[in-house]
């Protein structure tokens, strides 16, 4: 991902916070440049109203003229101002739609490209002017021309994301059924476009009420689960789109039980394992786009705490996969680290299985290495460690052995209140279950680290509780009696 300039990033964050992150896609054929030279078409200056009107008239003349005029029109429509002028001309959309429904394939194609440019407009009035075309866009989804269908799909996708008014028309027009038919296409380009449309539809603010139930009722989920694992080596575009679709469905919590019954958990776990192996082989360009939504689905599904979910993920290779991702994406895509840790939290919170596996697979050092990354990452790492420590003395003993304390002392010294607070919770659990750790802590100058926070209103109570331990003799915990008995027990 290119380094976003600070101002741009701030604007994007703000847009997202206001739920106004509108993502449109543009398919634009580069016909003007020379032999295979990639480059954006540089649009000419915007046209005057007269010029637009003339072009429109030209599109109704004889064939060769018409094709050329349409092509000029398409280029002109890259300009927002020209778009606006065009849609304001009386009868213009009617003519365009007439051309779009022409039986002359190349006229139809060029008209479709014009429509596509309009759909991509940042001016809502322009995009909404395309509304009369939607019934045709949907009808053409059952056609067989790959390029044309793809164009129709991306046009629909852009319209879908535009406004609720558009969706209020598309839903009764049968967009869900049309997509459910179209998803049977074998063509990658079509499937990717379809995934895009669906992902936009599923993000609508009214989605959980108006859209997701319809989608869940259709054959779409089963297809999505297949497509999310498909074609990974050749090009992941399709898988990426459907992974994001699944994320929007899962996080809406409309009917996750249905997805679970269709095997989503094991599908996604196996997918993550596969992706981890691709990362190891350095076949990883853009993988984070697929990994991210899959992580989210699993985390949110686990958070639902449904019957049988835990068993479906109990595969310690999943841990290895997560750490593979975190190591690989640490320097470029920190958000992956964050989201892996979120999943790790959900895996380790309740069941001892993963806590135990973390220790057995010796993943604690790798976890500790993440502490300095960012505040959010530090919080999550500490939470995971708390999850492990909370499981009892056998776990705390091992954590102690893995030299957790020195990392904690460093982080305690450097941190803000929230991170420090989580540190204190962890220390408490360690000392509670494995008092030797307390003694060790104070010999490592842990007291000084604690003192730093003793006056902070949020922290002082807990700091004092811990500081008191410095003066007490190390109590024999019931755990030390069984410490030598921390033997492998048989698997459940």
């Amino acid at each position: 991902m290119p380094y976003i300039e600070a101002a741009c990033a701030t604007a994007l964050r703000k847009a997202r916070k206001q739920q106004q992150l509108i993502s449109k896609r543009l398919l634009r054929e580069d016909t003007q440049n020379g032999e295979g030279k990639a480059g954006m078409e540089i649009p000419t200056d915007p046209l005057s109203e007269q010029e637009v009107l003339q072009l429109l008239r030209d599109t109704q003349k004889g064939t060769e003229e018409r094709k050329k005029s349409l092509s000029c029109l398409r280029q002109a429509l890259q300009h927002k101002e020209t778009q606006q002028k065009f849609v304001r001309l009386e009868g213009s959309m009617r003519v365009l739609i007439g051309l779009f429904t022409s039986s002359l394939a190349d006229v139809q194609m060029e008209a479709a490209r014009c429509l596509h440019e309009l759909s991509h407009s940042s001016d809502p009035a322009v995009a909404e002017a395309c509304l009369p075309a939607t019934s045709y866009l949907l009808t053409y989804l059952s056609g067989h021309s790959i390029e044309f269908t793809e164009l129709c799909l991306y046009t629909l996708g852009n319209l879908v994301v535009e406004s609720e008014a558009v969706r209020k028309q598309l839903l009764p027009q049968g967009i869900i059924s049309a997509l459910a038919s179209c998803i049977q296409s074998p063509h990658e380009a079509v499937l990717e476009g379809l995934g895009y449309v669906l992902s936009q539809l599923l993000q609508a603010k009214e989605a959980s009420i108006e859209i997701i139930p319809l989608v869940l009722d259709s054959a779409l989920p089963q297809h999505m689960l297949q497509l999310v694992c498909s074609n990974l080596e050749l090009g992941m575009g399709v898988a990426v789109e459907f992974a994001w679709c699944l994320h929007y469905i899962v996080c809406s919590c409309v009917n996750n039980a249905l997805l679970i019954s269709q095997g989503i958990m094991s599908t996604l776990v196996l997918l993550l394992l596969e992706l981890a192996s691709m990362v190891s082989k350095a076949v990883a360009d853009g993988l984070e786009l697929l990994i991210c939504p899959v992580l989210r689905c699993l985390s949110n599904l686990l958070a639902e705490e449904m019957e049988g979910c835990n068993m479906q993920v109990q595969d310690e290779r999943l841990l290895v996969a997560l750490f593979t991702f975190m190591q690989y994406f640490l320097n470029h895509h920190l958000f992956i680290v964050q989201e892996c840790l979120w999943l790790l939290n959900n895996l380790t919170a309740d069941e001892p299985f993963f806590c135990s596996a973390m220790l057995t697979l010796d993943l604690i050092p790798a976890l500790l290495q993440l502490l300095p990354c960012s505040r959010m990452v530090a919080l999550l790492v500490l939470t995971v460690l708390c999850n492990i420590a909370e499981k009892g003395c056998a776990y705390c003993q091992q954590l102690h052995q893995k030299a957790v304390l020195s990392s904690l002392i460093s982080i305690l010294t450097l941190s803000d209140a929230e991170v420090a607070g989580q540190c204190l919770e962890l220390l408490h659990l360690l000392f509670l279950h494995w008092p030797e750790a307390a003694a060790d802590f104070f010999t490592q100058a842990g007291l000084q680290a604690l003192e730093q926070h003793q006056h902070h209103p949020e922290l002082q109570e807990r700091v004092r509780a811990l500081m008191n331990l410095a003066t007490q003799p190390a109590a024999a915990s019931p755990c030390s009696l069984v410490s030598s008995a921390a033997v492998p027990s048989s698997l459940p």
Binding site: P2, I4, A9, L21, S23, R25, R28, E29, D30, G36, Q60, G62, T63, E64, T101, L104, M109, S135, Y136, T139, S145, I146, E147, F148, G174, S177, A178, A189, E192, G193, L234, G237, L273, A276, S277, S280, D285, G286, E288, L289, E316, V320, T324, F335, D350, P352, S356, C386, N387, E390, G392, Q422, L424, E425, L426, E461, R462, A486, P488, P492
Partner: protein
């Protein structure tokens, strides 16, 4: 899968599970309790990933030629008898074929955008049994896939399409069948929708072969295109439709390939 399979062999067989006693509530003033976290769509934790996704989507696909090797071949013409359209790319031909020849009614030679609409057309226009049954029961199906409604007349169906499905009232693929007219046999220049449109310009020359651009015959260029005649029907096509399993070329691997861009 080196790392993971190695792991599997060595570890899976006997992964020890450390004993974990029953969970106790936290001791004050400490308050931590393990908790699975659910992140709804707008959760802060998801912010960066969402922005990344957004940036990915905003990437403009610059060039089709960059994505597929779309070879230009030497010109070839459509193989359908009577159609002399020429092409120099497979995709161009594919789209032409799909638009004009794929879903063609063998009775009246009109072509349709989909097999579904063709089927409905054949049923309603060329199946005499349909007419008989339609007198007694609702036979006109709604055109929207997924809607199971049926109607007694095509007008009722149109009303349904407009009011329930918000279709335009002049939807091109649902024009009612008029009484059989001699126009049908006299003029081959029919609009390829489900019905012949009133020919606005008179005196159309008879066209025997497939003309690529019959519009050149049009006199009045300022007509809205939808009333212009598109293409003459094929004369020799016997099959009523092409099986849907037939499709053209290697599946084009188009689509967004911004993956290839350097991070």
């Amino acid at each position: 899968m080196l790392l993971l399979s190695g792991l599997s062999a060595a570890v899976r067989a006997e992964l020890p599970l450390l004993p974990a006693p029953a969970r106790a509530p936290p001791q004050a003033p400490f308050r931590f309790s393990p908790r699975r976290l659910r992140c709804p769509r707008e959760h802060e934790l998801l912010e960066d990933g969402d922005i990344h996704r957004h940036l990915y989507l905003q990437d403009i696909l610059v060039s089709v030629t960059q994505v597929t090797e779309k070879p230009k071949v030497s010109e070839f013409s459509c193989h359908i008898a009577g159609c002399c359209q020429v092409f120099d790319t497979l995709e161009g031909y594919e789209h032409h074929y799909n638009t004009l020849h794929r879903n063609v009614c063998s009775f009246c030679k009109r072509s349709f955008p989909s097999g579904h609409l063709l089927d409905i057309h054949i049923l309603e226009w060329h199946d005499s049994l349909f007419q008989i049954m339609a007198e007694k029961q609702s036979m006109y199906q709604c055109l929207v896939q997924g809607c199971v409604e049926k109607f007694k007349s095509s007008k009722d169906r149109k009303d349904h399409l407009v009011t329930v499905h918000l279709y335009p009232s002049d939807f091109r693929f649902d024009r009612p069948k008029k009484a059989k007219s001699t126009k049908h046999s006299k003029s081959p220049l029919l609009q390829n929708t489900s019905m012949p449109v009133d020919i606005k310009t008179s005196e159309q020359p008879q066209v025997d072969s497939m003309e690529i651009s019959p519009v050149e015959n049009m006199e009045n260029a300022s007509q809205p295109l939808s009333s212009l005649i598109s293409l003459p029907p094929e004369k020799h096509l016997n099959r009523s439709r092409i099986p849907s399993t037939i499709c053209f070329g290697q599946g084009a691997t188009r689509g967004f390939k911004s993956m290839k861009k350097k991070i």
